[in-house]
């Protein structure tokens, strides 16, 4: 691990507490992991600490209601350790789900109270580890996860934290080892969704779908968990080109959990892929009026721009920028996703590169951090510098059309047309609808490289 790029700075911004799926899958991934960890933490807390009646009851449906119930519990009894721990987890979930950084401070305070009540409690430490993941302090998360596993080797949740931390830090082999341990301890929903993600990272999209289908069957009885697994399944199916199956998965997810933003974004992507751009815009406008979430706003802006509605697109992008400004103001750096956003929609390529560097520093050797930095360098016209990073990003053979398209542009920019053509073909064959924003440019590159472009890459 390279230490030269690391500082002690507490990083953070984008709520990723686990498999950070790239851009489009990101929202779904964070939501699913949030819910899974919420469930896991709830169960862990319950089995770990006896006499926790407030946790024992079936949890209320919405995150807000759950938070309110827990706040009432700790107000009634400030010594209620399990409720403080669960509250820390609930606030963390809420911060991730809403991308509103206000809740990180609350999570921090709740976990501090729990730590005061019983120093060294493993559940509290697990909550802290999850918060560290969300705040992008992956090293702290790995340290805490390691301490928990040392004391309790059967904590599947702690193994999960270790998997996530190793993935973010780019230690994929270590992550796979940890995952195997996790699967031995508890081959449930959380382990299966991580299995799916690691398979996808290693280019096994079919295996990823299979793992999620297993998770779907395994978690059929659990509401929100099942819904988010279905959303991830929808994403994986969509990437494989199975649009009808993907739509069915999203619909099932929304039936279980009507407000699941990730499933709505997935639905919008499908609509756009099938040519119904206006329908997609309608879905996203309704969603972002309710939850002004950056990933949804970015997609909305891109679709509006393709429709020639530049003013409205600029409005959507301005909201993304404002959210990023608020996150920075709250002491949380916005990195990976904002780096890509700045490269694609910003007007200052150098600033985008700076964000890309930060992303890389927080996640040294993570393939998507390498991709983000390479892409910002490409947009700044520095393809030669981007080249080694891009190769690093491709090292796992990940089947991700956006990643492959980025690679194609970088290789082409550096004069490696042969490699560029191979990457672009890979992107086309994986998922030609990978990004409404990039598809026209992908078409132009295909024409330049003499590659047959699909209909999806036609000019808007």
């Amino acid at each position: 691990m390279s230490n030269t790029l690391q500082t002690g700075r507490a990083p953070a911004d984008l709520p990723v507490r686990a498999p950070a799926r790239h851009h489009r899958g990101r929202l779904a991934a964070t939501a699913v992991v949030a819910v899974l960890i919420g469930l896991a933490l709830g169960r862990f807390v319950f089995t770990d600490a006896a006499g926790a009646p407030s946790i024992a009851r079936p949890g209320p449906q919405t995150p807000q209601a759950r938070i309110a119930a827990l706040e009432a519990a700790v107000e009634a009894n400030p010594q209620d350790l399990p409720s403080w721990q669960a509250l820390g987890g609930a606030y963390t979930d809420r911060a991730i789900y809403s991308s509103d950084p206000t809740f990180y401070n609350l999570a921090d305070r709740a976990l501090d109270r729990a730590a005061e009540l019983e120093p060294g409690n493993l559940s509290t430490m697990l909550g802290r580890a999850n918060l560290s993941l969300s705040l992008h302090d992956f090293r702290a998360a790995r340290r805490l996860g390691g301490r928990i596993v040392a004391e309790d080797p059967f904590s599947a949740e702690a193994h999960g934290v270790l998997v996530d931390a190793e993935v973010e830090l780019g230690h994929y082999r270590a992550a796979t080892r940890r995952l195997e341990q996790m699967l031995e301890v508890d081959p449930g929903l959380p382990a299966l969704s991580r299995t799916s993600y690691l398979r996808e990272l290693h280019g096994d999209l079919d295996g990823a779908v299979l793992a999620l289908q297993q998770a779907d069957v395994a978690g059929a009885s659990r509401g929100p968990g099942a819904a988010t697994v279905l959303t991830l399944l929808g994403d994986a199916l969509r990437k494989r080109g199975d649009h009808d199956a993907a739509r069915a998965a999203y619909e099932r997810a929304l039936r279980i959990y009507p407000d699941l933003a990730a499933a709505e974004v997935g639905t919008a992507r499908l609509l756009a892929s099938d040519g119904d751009r206006l329908g997609a815009i309608r879905v996203l406008e309704a969603l972002t009026q309710r939850v002004p979430e950056s990933a949804a706003l970015t997609l909305l802006g891109e679709l509006l721009a393709l429709q020639g509605r530049d003013d409205e697109a600029a409005d959507a992008f301005a909201l993304v920028e404002a959210t990023a400004a608020l996150q920075r103001n709250a002491g949380q750096d916005t990195d990976l996703e904002m780096a890509l956003f700045a490269a694609d929609h910003g007007d200052d390529p150098a600033a985008a590169v700076a964000l890309g560097r930060r992303a890389w520093r927080d996640r040294p050797d993570n393939i998507y951090a390498a991709d983000a930095l390479a892409w910002t360098l490409h947009r700044a016209g520095r393809d030669r510098q981007a080249l080694p990073l891009m190769r690093r990003a491709l090292r796992l053979g990940t089947s991700d059309a956006l990643l492959r398209y980025h690679a194609a542009e970088v290789f082409a920019g550096a004069g490696r047309d042969q490699q560029a053509r191979r990457q672009l073909r890979e992107a086309r064959d994986t998922d030609p609808w990978f990004s409404p924003h990039h598809q026209p440019a992908a078409g132009a590159l295909a024409r330049r490289l003499g590659l047959q472009a699909p209909a999806a890459w036609a000019r808007p």
């Binding site: 706040e71 107000e75 509103d100 009026q289 939850v291 301005a318 909201l319 103001n329």
Partner: protein, 488 residues
């Protein structure tokens, strides 16, 4: 001196405990918060409806209202936006008066952009709404349901007061706990307010039930007078200049003395006690001071308790305190009755049946009257015996004092509230002492006059008065206790 320092430290601790409100949005930068402040008038209902949009929704709103796309709202755009929004919001408020749906009309609207975090603006829309109410003959039920912005996350607040109408019953507080969405309670480990409906019962007639700080709702017993109401309004004035503070303290003094002179709370009983026991002017002072000190401590303690915990319900506490106070009085009265009875018997024997030994009787009376404190003159009042009636008189915190204190706390001016409550107590003490002194003097003069003209009567008066006052104190105490119990 040390005790004084202790008190000062205690007051500081109270202030620190209650903390200063801050303007950060309670649920974060994505929230849209609303507050509906209802005021019922005899012929109409006014609602001030405020929408406070945090940074992100404010930006979204500006984008929608910005017709010419220059990213700012000019006067015309702003006017169109607030007019449209207020009309929509008025529609979303479902109002029923006397069971009939009643429409709300927009009277005025205002739009401002208070600066928020990260150099972004927030947005504050104020809609003044009005509905005509059919002039009610008797009680009317007014019900409001806020259906606006159902899927936006945020603070939802409703408050209700009345002017020229009596607010008999309300399930919402009368004052805003967020300073009308400008100062949200800062400690965030508590659920945000989610009040989306209100039901009020009103009746023609003056006054309303207390300007109760939010969260207390109907906690306080009704009937806080109008003076207290306007006083609380004064406390909540935005700027606190020295002149204004002095005025407020003066008013608190006046309010306290008025409260002390108003009927109820056993003041008459205390007065009767003084007269019957032939207390001195100094002892009148002592009694007044005891009542005031007990009362002030009680108010402060209850205020702190109510501010830090929801565990105690004041509506349960009040009857209990009332019963305790009444029983204490009754106990004092019974004691007096016994003393008066034996004193009368002994006095009677002195004249009618000369064969008995006066000395023995005297000793017996002495024993009964001042059994615990024989160093005092039997006919006067011992300082210690003042404590029980003093306690009884001050035990029940006056709602208006509590309202003033809680009003100060709710506004983040706890220290000011404490000052005012102390001033209130001083006013109360002054009035009680004054009244007590007057009573003592009046008794002395009456005694002298009667003694001058008809000495025989004096003896009879001297025998009857203690008995009458003792009976008065006993019944008074029992009535107070019974009333408190009935109110429970």
């Amino acid at each position: 001196m040390r005790r004084l320092a202790g008190v000062a430290l205690g007051a500081l601790a109270v202030v620190a405990l209650l903390g200063e409100p801050a303007a950060a949005h309670p649920l974060g930068n994505f929230t849209t918060n609303t507050a509906a402040a209802m005021t019922v008038h005899p012929d109409r209902l006014d609602i001030t409806y405020i929408v406070d949009l945090a940074e992100i929704p404010a930006l979204q709103a500006v984008q929608r209202a910005d017709a010419d796309g220059n990213d700012t709202l000019d006067a015309a755009e702003s006017r169109r936006y607030r007019t449209q929004q207020c009309a929509t919001l008025a529609d979303g408020l479902r109002l029923q008066a006397g069971g009939k749906p009643t429409p709300l009309a927009v009277e005025r609207s205002e739009l401002t952009f208070p600066p928020g975090q990260a150099g972004l603006d927030t947005m504050r829309l104020t809609c003044a709404l009005r509905a005509a109410l059919p002039s009610p003959d008797g009680e009317t039920v007014v019900a409001l349901s806020d259906t606006n912005l159902p899927d936006r996350v945020g603070w939802r607040e409703i408050t209700a007061t009345s002017e020229g109408m009596t607010l008999l019953d309300s399930d919402v507080p009368t004052t805003s706990s967020s300073g009308q969405l400008t100062a949200y309670p800062q400690d965030q480990l508590q659920s945000p307010l989610d009040q989306r409906s209100a039901t009020l019962r009103v009746r023609p007639g003056p006054g309303s039930a207390a300007q109760t700080p939010a969260g207390l709702g109907n906690a306080l017993p009704g009937g806080v007078d109008r003076l207290a109401e306007s006083f609380t309004a004064l406390v909540s004035a935005r700027s606190l200049t020295p002149a204004f503070a002095l005025l407020a303290v003066g008013l608190a003094l006046l309010l306290g003395s008025l409260h002390a002179l108003a009927p109820g709370h056993g003041k008459t009983v205390v007065a009767a006690y003084l007269v019957g026991r032939e207390g001195s002017a100094q002892q009148a002072l002592g009694l007044g001071a005891t009542v005031a000190v007990t009362h002030t401590m009680g108010v402060l303690a209850l205020g702190v308790l109510l501010s830090v915990t929801d565990a105690i319900a004041p509506q349960r506490l009040y009857p209990l305190l009332g019963v305790a106070s009444g029983l204490l009085f009754a106990g004092v009265g019974l004691l007096l009755l016994r003393q008066a009875w034996s004193a009368r018997r002994s006095g009677g024997h002195d004249h009618a049946h000369g064969h008995e030994h006066p000395h023995d009787d005297h000793a017996g009376a002495h024993d009964h009257v001042d059994g615990h404190d024989s160093s005092h003159h039997p006919r006067g009042l011992s300082w210690r015996s003042l404590v029980a009636p003093g306690l009884a008189g001050g035990l029940v915190p006056s709602p208006s004092a509590l309202v003033v204190l809680l009003g100060g706390i709710a506004l983040g001016r706890a220290w000011f509230g404490v000052t005012l409550v102390i001033a209130y107590g001083v006013g109360m003490a002054a009035a009680l002492v004054g009244a007590g002194y007057l009573l003592v003097r009046a008794r002395e003069r009456m005694t002298r006059r009667v003694a001058g003209h008809r000495p025989g009567r004096l003896v009879r008066l001297g025998q009857v008065l203690p008995l009458v006052t003792a009976a008065l104190v006993t019944t008074g105490g029992l009535v107070l206790a019974a009333r408190a119990m009935a109110g429970a």
